[in-house]
Symmetry: C2
Amino acid sequence: MAPVLEPYFKQVDSMADSFIDRLRKAVAIPSISADAAHRPAVVKMADFLENELTTLGAHVERRYLGEQHPGLDLPPVLLGRYGDDPKKRSILVYGHYDVQPALKEDGWATDPFTLHVDEKDRMFGRGSTDDKGPVLGWINAIEAHKKAGIEFPVNLLMCFEGMEESGSEGLDNLIKQEAQVFFKDVDAVCISDNYWLGAEKPCLTYGLRGVSYFGIEVSGPGQDLHSGVYGGTVTEPMTDLINVMSTLVNNKGRILIPGIYDQVAPVTPEEEALYADIAFTMQDLYDGIGSKTAIFDDTKSTLMARWRNPSLSLHGVEGAFSAEGAKTVIPAKVIGKFSIRTVPDMDPEKVEKLVQQHVEWEFAKLNSNNTFKFHPLHAGKWWVSSPKHWNFTAAAKAVEQVWGVKPDMTREGGSIPVTLTFEQQTGKNVLLLPMGSSTDAAHSINEKLDKKNYIQGTKMLGAYLHFVAEEPITE
Amino acid sequence: MAPVLEPYFKQVDSMADSFIDRLRKAVAIPSISADAAHRPAVVKMADFLENELTTLGAHVERRYLGEQHPGLDLPPVLLGRYGDDPKKRSILVYGHYDVQPALKEDGWATDPFTLHVDEKDRMFGRGSTDDKGPVLGWINAIEAHKKAGIEFPVNLLMCFEGMEESGSEGLDNLIKQEAQVFFKDVDAVCISDNYWLGAEKPCLTYGLRGVSYFGIEVSGPGQDLHSGVYGGTVTEPMTDLINVMSTLVNNKGRILIPGIYDQVAPVTPEEEALYADIAFTMQDLYDGIGSKTAIFDDTKSTLMARWRNPSLSLHGVEGAFSAEGAKTVIPAKVIGKFSIRTVPDMDPEKVEKLVQQHVEWEFAKLNSNNTFKFHPLHAGKWWVSSPKHWNFTAAAKAVEQVWGVKPDMTREGGSIPVTLTFEQQTGKNVLLLPMGSSTDAAHSINEKLDKKNYIQGTKMLGAYLHFVAEEPITE
Ligand SMILES: [Zn+2]
Ligand SMILES: [Zn+2]
Ligand SMILES: [Zn+2]
Ligand SMILES: [Zn+2]
């Protein structure tokens, strides 16, 4: 072990209870960004973090992003700096202090805003793993260094936002503005806001799929009609919509839109070799989906489908009858929703054009007198980094020090848009360094963070800062 | 004019204001059956009718149908009798005293529960045309006879229910029980609870389509999934469902389920000749649907499609994303809803079997590892009567006396299930004799009944009773 890490790790262990107490205080603040009524609690959570940081000697600036809508301020982004030594590297870390909604009635076993530690040392509470635990991990690391009298190895820049669960409104713009100001000395970026692939083995994440979301609208009648009176006499928008939706994808996951696969990067032998070693079993997938209705029965195909191949999901229909029971309605205007998860080297603009051409062509084939509209709803690009970058090498060493195992190098199927923004705006490497595991149920009831992941995770974040401070810059 | 009708019509004209006042009082009672909180108002409406009837010397029995659910009584059915002369024919009339929900905020120009008579003598108010106006029409007819000292031509049996807008729970059973008791002397049945085909010309209605409603369910994952994490690796229920739904009907109204058309009665030359004279224009259809997105461009094909051919409508999907915006969900269990409007000589059980065979076959072709379930949700049979029956002949004479024109003999695309129940349980002819017009906006905002339709309609109902009392029994 690097000599300096031993006292740091000891210090973290000795402070475990106070770190858990810090998490307890944070979980108790219901900083739900989706609900305007909870906005004061989101701001209170910003106050809490600001106070923790300034107490430890960090410099914190609150940045206001304006109003979400008239009369409702967006929560502040906290820009923090701990250390200002030009001889040290500057590492920018990102996290979010807002949380998903949670109500006891949703099925939580205990109050979601009261941290509950069970006999297995699982710490239940909304935000425990997403993303208060990781954010506090950085603060814990600062405090442990201070208490142990160990010099902090880097200048730590922090960007903590309060709207991540609600679309990070205004953040991209702020990052752009600050790229050459607050973030100008940044050497590398680290985001701790995702999860291990499984329950046991740590990972570093170097890739994310993008997402392009579409609506296709078919309309005709001036208002919803009664199917008794008008069935058989009016061209029904639902019939057209379902026909077009049925041409997008098959149930083996194959996208049927011409040209989509032309843009997908071929698999290299090097990539191919990666999948064998990943700690992932089909049972992990079955546990995740709650069934055995998988498309593939091997882990390699499954991981490739999740990480590096595009997929298309039909999400639903807006404007049609969607409740329980039986309603004899002919919906007047229906909007089918679907999205494509995109991968290297797909160009979102090209994807949009291919989708538009396809759906318009399929609608034209129907020879309908209804009206068709294509709505590209949003598009976020995929992101892929090099797992051999020194930022990743440093993190891998930290993981091995703390967990005694080399991390899996993983990608993810979902998107974390801020990743790409940081990479593009700072021009620096971005690393995703998860603290929690796949069993943490972020966004679900009974969200938790294992005590082990929190305390070892605090060690890991600190160790990462030591390694990244000294890692030879190789690319 | 039959001599007795002249003084009756004069009496009705002279009492017009008090009849409108009766409608005003009835509209003021918000007897919304769909809303448990309004149940006392539904009962109050029953009290109102009972009082009106008994004041005029009718005998009224309240029949309780039990609880809708624990703690909520169904509204009473009022069984009334006016006259008990074994030498007279007994005519059973049906109507309902409950109404659709209505809120000013829905877009009503005036308060829905305050009768508003505008400068064109349109009487706006919830229930004005559906179905309080027609129900009061019978009461008005009794009163006018009484006041004018004209002998009432028939024994009038009445069945007025308070749950029609909410599925007529318990009514079928009551009709069955009373068929040989309260209704045992009935010679013919008349229902006034529908509308003219257009705005100007009266009609008698002798046919209704049936409806068979289905749900098809596809399920797989144990819970809704995130499309980023699982898209491409799990067999998505929506993909299977949309595929099966796309095989049911085309946008020209053609049902694609094999065997469905084999059961449809062929068109006879006699029927074919009927369509030419019906007062119906394509503009009437366009006005009804609020667009020109019709399947056919001629009235004959349109009326045949509405009245005598089956149709299939896709209503929507339960369990999928149906709100505004973009949600990246893979729904775990989705239920597609559709219904088939059925016509002579389709057998609902045969229809159900054909539908089940088809959807199960189409799902099997998908070779999916998801689970498929077929749910027949409800089925009501079509009804067709003979427009040459003496009950209709009598009504046609009444229309001609009052409106100066022979009524169109029409069918309807929707279903009024109680029609078939009365026919089957009493074994007598059932006539649909509308008071209001197609422009009345039943079930919509700004529901109205024209003063002319209400006052002339009261004359028509009374005249019908005179003609039906003496019409030669020819079939
Ligand atoms: Zn998060
Ligand atoms: Zn989250
Ligand atoms: Zn009605
Ligand atoms: Zn109605």
